[in-house]
Symmetry: C2
Subunit: 112 residues, 2 copies
């Protein structure tokens, strides 16, 4: 449904309901510092960002993998604008199921 | 200081201040399901437990390793009573630095 709303539905990958994502998958996603950085940058920006707009110390294909893991863990929603793949942090949905976790990630960024 | 208070100071291993434990170390500790089970059992018991009192699907030496990782991540405090190594969940200290995380672990146990 969300995919249809976002447009470009053929290219929009599937997104799980956060309710259906277990804590194991969430922790596996967030244990990686590059993935926490993506989450923290999206949170700090307060806006959706294209993959290329987030400066990461990894190759483009590795970055794509990290975005994929975050999407499957229910942390981000991806959609296309033209040829740009955009990323939206699913903050409210995620906080409703796992309160405090994203605050910890944001606080870590603020400290460093 | 805490070690001295607990008695048996020579055998009490060092414990970090939770403030000094980074989110990386905390997530590495909690990403393991056996370690989350230890944390959840201590939380559900609402009391300190000896290592042997927690039923785990691993060998004794592997369990000892898991307790060690939890101690170094600031999640549990260990002390001796006679020859029993006891484990105390550092709930209040941990919640003060990482609010929500232990609630997520407890909620996961409640669901399963």
């Amino acid at each position: 449904m969300a995919a249809a709303r976002e447009g470009g539905r053929d290219r929009v990958p599937p997104h799980p309901d956060v309710q259906d994502v277990g804590l194991q998958r969430v922790l596996e996603a967030l244990v990686d510092p590059v993935r926490r950085r993506i989450v923290a940058e999206l949170d700090a920006a307060g806006a959706d960002l294209s993959c290329g707009a987030i400066d990461l110390p990894v190759s483009k294909s590795t970055a794509t993998h990290h975005f994929h893991v975050l999407r499957e863990a229910g942390l981000i929603r991806q959609y296309y604008v033209g040829t740009s793949r955009m990323n939206a942090l699913r903050r409210a949905e995620f906080d409703a199921v796992f309160p405090g976790l994203l605050d910890a990630v944001a606080a870590e960024r603020a400290r460093t």
